[in-house]
Symmetry: C2
Subunit: 159 residues, 2 copies
């Protein structure tokens, strides 16, 4: 039944069926201090980036970090994200989402939590055995955005 | 110089150098009504999922949608995300992040915005020419989470 409902939910534009592919390309984090955030991700966590771009536009300043499979992690000011999406900028809220980073071992969870701490992250939960049987810890980036570093033998990262 | 700083920033655990790989695996959205969110993503946008899981745990109820490259989009209650990360649950805030979905044409942007609207999304910005030269629109999911649907001839999605 769900299969039927799902197939009916695909949008129809003229005679062309449009549906979303199971993917996204960019995760953009709203930040308050883009230079500080850039330093955290680039120098602290080691994410490669061509650097800050878009300063020539009034609301364009951003940075993109290159991820696998053509994906990007982006940072953009909360004020500009509000402007661009036509929303009112609202207060920080760390419980809106979390970014899950899978590892291949418990030791790798510990090592990345340590790396993040050295980079200036706030550890909200030290790595420990999780209720679902794995091993995980949480940290916040300089803007409060949550990362969960986790080891789940049933869900290892793809190479 | 940045290259040098980046290489120095990689964590050292004993004699083993640990660094983060340029990736993440799961994007978890904090939600208020997980059944409503599941319906939006599964029936409305058409993301495949094995269904709700984790109900056997007090704080475990979640759903995962399968994305390309082994990635997952997850939904989990804000209250449980707060509990799991040892944070206080805070108010909704749509300017914390956005999820960018690249298309291969302007028409595809229009079609997906229409699909999202039919699924119950709130359109915050109708698709239009963007300041950076592309074409994009924004919508919010039932929990206010922002998606940007965008066409950028210089950054097409990978197949």
């Amino acid at each position: 039944m769900l299969v039927l409902i799902t197939s009916l939910a695909f949008g129809q534009i003229g005679t062309k069926t449009t549906n979303m592919e199971p993917r996204f390309t960019v995760l953009t984090l709203g930040v308050d201090d883009i230079e500080k955030s850039f330093k955290f991700y680039h120098e602290g966590l080691g994410f490669a980036s061509p650097g800050m771009i878009g300063k020539e536009y009034e609301h364009g300043e951003a940075a993109f970090f290159d991820l696998k499979h053509g994906m990007k992690l982006a940072i953009y000011s909360r004020a500009n994200l509000a402007w661009d999406s036509k929303l009112k900028k609202t207060e920080r809220s760390a419980t809106e989402f979390s970014i899950g980073y899978m590892t291949r071992s418990k030791e790798e969870v510990d090592a990345i939590m340590e790396l993040a701490k050295k980079a200036g992250a706030t550890i909200t939960k030290h790595a420990q055995t999780a209720f679902w049987g794995g091993y995980s810890g949480y940290f916040q980036d300089p803007d409060g955005h949550l990362w969960e570093i986790l080891y789940n033998p049933q869900l290892l990262p793809e190479d």
